[in-house]
Amino acid sequence: MMSNKLKQTPSQTVGPFFSYALTPEQSGYNLKSIASPDMRADDTPGEHINLSGKIYDGNGEIVSDAMIEIWQTDADGNYLDRDTPPMDGTFTGFGRCDCEIKKEFYFNTVKPGPIEEGHAPHINMIVFMRGMLTHAYTRIYFSDESDANEKDAVFKSVPTERRHTIIANRVEEDNIVTYQFDLHMQGDNETVFFDV
């Protein structure tokens, strides 16, 4: 019976020239964006946080022709998905960033709540870039949630010596909370990517 299944369409690289279609407003093109790095409004409930980081290739060079997408719960731990769309139409939990402008990715969002007891708060991330034929999935956990992280089944499934690669470091400055999360595509500190 399984032979009746259709073959998944292969992934292909996003290439270097995606931004005018996928991140047009952020990148200065005349088309309305469907998602952006500015995910929250001033009155979005929850702790307002910034998330940013650089992407390093195997030679230690910064990758800028990349696109990062994130998907997360709201501050109460709810995914505002197809079944439960956002009430106020502002915060969707989905963000998209072109890394070309700042040579890094950045998001203005809120700190997600845990989905349920036993799950640590986290942000889901997809990495697309020229030079990658297939996108890569990772998760961002938070440095100030170590107790919750230690109870999280997905976090615990990562080899202990690699867990630091999926923890964002909290920095507070002038009442602004920023989580710093660099990606290393290869090398000793290669970021953990999941077989999602």
């Binding site: 009746n4 299944k5 259709l6 073959k7 998944q8 369409t9 292969p10 992934s11 292909q12 690289t13 996003v14 290439g15 270097p16 020239f17 005018y20 279609a21 996928l22 047009p24 200065g28 093109y29 005349n30 088309l31 469907i34 998602a35 290739d57 195997g58 998907w71 995914y79 505002l80 998905d81 197809r82 769309p85 969707t92 939990g93 989905f94 070309e100 989905i115 986290h122 889901n124 997809i126 697309f128 870039m129 020229r130 990658m132 034929l133 297939t134 996108h135 890569a136 999935y137 089944a153 997905v154 499934s157 690699r162 290869q186 290669e190 953990v192 990517f193 999941f194 077989d195 999602v196």
Partner: protein, 250 residues
């Protein structure tokens, strides 16, 4: 399309678990490191992926609906016009977005982008010495209908050189970005054109080892989707990961 026809009666829909999604089929997708495509050797992850038991994080996705789509977003022959019509051969590209069991993926966002007829992108950093078409933008999107179908009107994109190896040229292609029904079904791919001699030489196309999967990236000429006196038709179906089904007992 006949090669995408499956017998849905053989799938027991009661055994489809919408809380699970089929695994990424690594036979169908290219590897992270494929040395013929040079940049992959220092950009693709090299350590084994960590398996994940799916949670809501992987099984949910926001709904991008019609409210985000503007008039002419799916007509690339119109959406970039400034003072005239874009140059080149007009094409209509249509296809269905399906899951692995042939079920239409309804109401899902399809975004596309491409070079113009001369092989030049509107993107600010494209340095290829070929003319920009002032009346062609090259980006568009639409939401699939109740049959999972999308349709775009556009201009056939030109081939262009790239720096991967001596005299390297990308085959004519249109980039596609799709969401499907979950974060796990996300897909970015490229559609190619039938009979293109550059396909055999292209490391991006050839990175998929499985012949059936690889050739599914090539659209088919379609008289049905050709518009008399206006545009040639091409059909390109896309298969995303969908909710898992358990095979019936014999």
């Amino acid at each position: 399309m006949s090669d995408h026809k499956i017998d849905t009666h053989k799938i027991d829909t009661h055994k489809i678990d919408t809380h699970k999604i089929d695994k990424r089929d690594w036979d169908a997708h290219p590897p992270y490191v494929y040395p013929d495509y040079k940049s992959t050797t220092f950009r693709g992850p090299t350590k084994p992926l960590v398996p994940i038991a799916h949670t809501l994080s992987e099984l949910t996705i926001p709904a991008f609906g019609h409210e985000q789509i503007q008039e002419f977003d799916n007509d690339l022959t119109i959406n970039g016009r400034v003072d005239g019509e874009p140059q080149g051969e007009r094409i209509q590209v249509s296809g269905r977005v399906l899951d692995e069991y042939g079920r239409p993926q309804i109401g899902t966002l399809v975004e596309i982008w491409q070079a113009n007829a001369a092989g030049r992108y509107i993107h600010k950093t494209d340095q290829h010495d070929a003319p920009i078409d002032p009346n062609f933008f090259g980006g568009g999107r639409c939401v699939t209908d109740e049959n999972g179908r999308y349709t775009f009107l556009s201009i056939k994109p030109g081939a262009y050189p790239w720096g991967n190896h001596h005299n390297a040229w990308r085959p004519n292609h249109i980039h596609f970005s799709l969401f499907g029904m979950s974060f796990a079904s996300r897909l970015v791919t490229q559609m190619y054109f039938p009979g293109d001699p550059l396909l055999a030489l292209d490391p991006i196309f050839n990175a998929t080892a499985d012949k059936i999967a690889r050739e599914s990236l090539v659209s088919k000429f379609s008289q049905k989707y050709s518009i008399p006196n206006i545009a040639l038709g091409y059909e390109f179906d896309i298969v995303l990961r969908g909710p898992a089904a358990t095979p019936m007992e014999a």
